[in-house]
Amino acid sequence: MRFGSLLILICLALASVAQASDALEHDFEIANSLYQQGDYTGALENYRKVAASGVDNAVLHYNIGNSYFKTGQLGEAIASYHKALRFDPRNDDIRANLRFAKQQMIDKIDPTAVSPLWMWYKSLVLNYTANEWAVMSSVLLFLLLFMLIYIVWTRNRQFVVKSIAVGLLILFVCSGICTGVNVRLNFYSPRGAIVVPEVSIKAGPGEDFGEQFVAHEGLTFDILKQESGWYLGVFDNRLKGWIRVSDAAKI
């Protein structure tokens, strides 16, 4: 979070949209108080108004997720919590509510054929935001170049100095890879969540295709491609099938 706050500053500086945020902030506050009064539908409406203006942040998605949950829309809630985690992956509240929402699901699937090493790496990468990884990489690059400049200028070729430089180089490369993987997972691997109580997963993009299996609300899947109003999804248990776009929410 140390560089996270720095990052927010940078982002704020970049975002000239900030001027319009006063009106949005007002809507957000209204939604919060509606939620507090128990008017979850009203709260949801206002939150979505804020979201519709193109604003994307953890708090907003989390609160939207809560409103969805309270109005009984489990799938949408799970999708929102996933969106929120993308911007604040270590937030305890978001994690707790996602876990709680998942407990309400009907389908319990164990991820199969996924190497534990990849699972571990994925959780490490997704434990930080893409921006945190980027800042981390930049800092490491800065330190690495600083070390190189020092070596070039002073012609100090001691083992310790060289080791530090090599270490920083390795760290920078790893961090850079993590940055790339994070961006790829968070922004270039679309996922979806089923938002209807029960859906028949089809063998092809159309009603006429045969049923593969039945999935229930809240189940998430990787979207491989989209074709004429249907998603081709892969579930965590490696089952594959077509889901109508209207039956799922994109995460």
């Binding site: 990052l7 927010i8 940078i10 982002c11 704020l12 970049l14 975002a15 949209v17 900030a18 945020s21 949005l24 902030e25 809507d27 957000f28 939604a31 919060n32 939620y35 507090q36 939150y47 804020v50 193109g54 604003v55 994307d56 942040n57 953890a58 708090v59 907003l60 989390y62 609160n63 809560n66 409103s67 949950f69 309270k70 911007f87 509240d93 707790a96 509510n97 709680f100 929402a101 407990q103 893409a130 921006n131 980027a134 800042v135 930049s138 690059l141 800065f142 170049l145 600083f146 190189l148 400049i149 070039v152 200028w153 940055t179 961006v183 922004f187």
Partner: protein
Amino acid sequence: MRLLRIVAIVMLIVAPATLFGGEISFSADVNTTEAAVSEPITLELTVSGSEQNLPEPASPDIDGFDVFGAGRSQQFSFVNGVTQSSVIHRFMLVPRQEGSFTIPPMELRYEGKTYSTKPIKITVTQAASSGNRQSQRSTGQSSGRRESSSDDYFVETVVDKDTIYVNEQLTLTFRFYQGKRLFSQPEYNAPSATGFWVEDLPPQKNYYKTVKGRDYYVAEVKTGLFPTSPGVKTIGEAVLTLKGEDITSIFDRDFFGFFDRGRSQSKPMRLATRPIEVVVLPLPADGKPADYSGSVGRFKMSTSIDKFEVEVNQPVTVTIKLSGTGNIKTLAEPAIPDLEDFRVFSSGKSENVSKAGYVVGGSKSFEVAFVPKRPGTFTIPAMSSNYFDPSDGKYKTLAGRSFDITVTGVSNEEIAAQSGRTTERMDLVATDIRYIITGKSGSGDQSGLFVFSPLFIVVNLLPIAALVIVFAVRRHRDRLAGDVGYRRLRRAVKMARVRLAQADRHLKQNEADKFYTEISRALHEYIGDKFNISAHGMTRLQLEKLFSDHHAPENLQARFFEIVATCDEGRFSPASHSGEKMREALKESENLIVEFEDTVK
């Protein structure tokens, strides 16, 4: 020294008793210190200590009292790993006459040490009912047998059964018939009863009975006998010895004439009973339970538990009480089950022997402690025992009841895992989602990716650029410091300019020879620096080869040699050169160097 030796000796004598012998205590107590004649007083002698086998005090012999054994009761307790047992020996003291008596200190020797009780004073008053009894007696006596004969006194022993089972109670009754009043206590020798466990059955019974038309005052003493093995057993003769005075001097005395006692002497009289044969049957093998306990009689069993809810490691005590008639002392402990969830051990027993109605019985309690190892709900199974009932010749089984108990707390394993700490676990029971996040801006946008922002590129390129610059500067300095050719190249133009400036000064002073020397040196040194050679003294051919090696243009070469020739000419015939010509040569030299720099690398 002498004193020390005495102390040492005393220590040697005392030490074994105090250090190595277990300490016991011995005390005496009576239920009352005032009693009427013939009214029994209970004397209790209590021996207690941590030893298993406590000594038994001798039957006391107390002046003025008839003494009967009245049984004993024993208690064991097991507290903090120490066994405490105490045995209470009860005796009936029946006062013979009124007055003040003292129960003398009773002595008990144990492991070389003598324990004694405190003396107890007893006041005996005139018997309340004695008036009535005496009138009876006088009636009996008035009917008149004044002469002394063998019919005056006789004894008999009677058994209640002549065929019994092993360990079944046989009641032996000894009766002493007195046709005349006795004034001293006769001496009684109990029958020998080899092969029997003997229990005195107090109290002595006194009554009047008419035998063959004569009234007798009967003293009846009962004894309980428990055969220990089967076979034909003989109960020996019981002997009563009467003192002579009681037999001879009857005539001269009235009833209250005992003050004359001892006035005359006579031979004592010995009264004996016939020996009795008894058939002792072995217990039937038919229907004998495998776990037969050896008890004979008629018993009931009751079980109780002290609590139904307990914490781990805290004992629950189940008390099994066997009560009824039979030889209580030989009652065996019921089998204690071995349970996986408990540590089980016997924590104590107590017995209470009663001789009510001259039947030996009572109760015996066994305490069994169950210490639970882990929490949960458990059943302590019913414990059972059995006995042989001689009245119908059958074996009977006794069963207690089982108990369901609840054990709370943390199991030993868990305690061990927590290295002795007892903590209460707080389990999260989530029933709802957590509340929304408020107080934070919800309209800020976080979707901007730093990786793709121009700032990211700038931020990362800056240090790279810095590295490149530093690298270049370092390299430049290195060449200056270490590479003469590089330094000369960098210096060539600069040096040439210095020489040409010097030439200009010579021009202004119109020193033609010096001017041309300077120009020539400037050009030659420039070439030397440029190509890192020594250009002085090079022939025209050598220079031409050098120029063509470095691809210098032809016209530049020609111009170079032309100006060198002008310089040579000027140096040797300075007068023929005007200021105009010198200025031309200087200008040409400068141009030549500039063009050389531009074209030749």
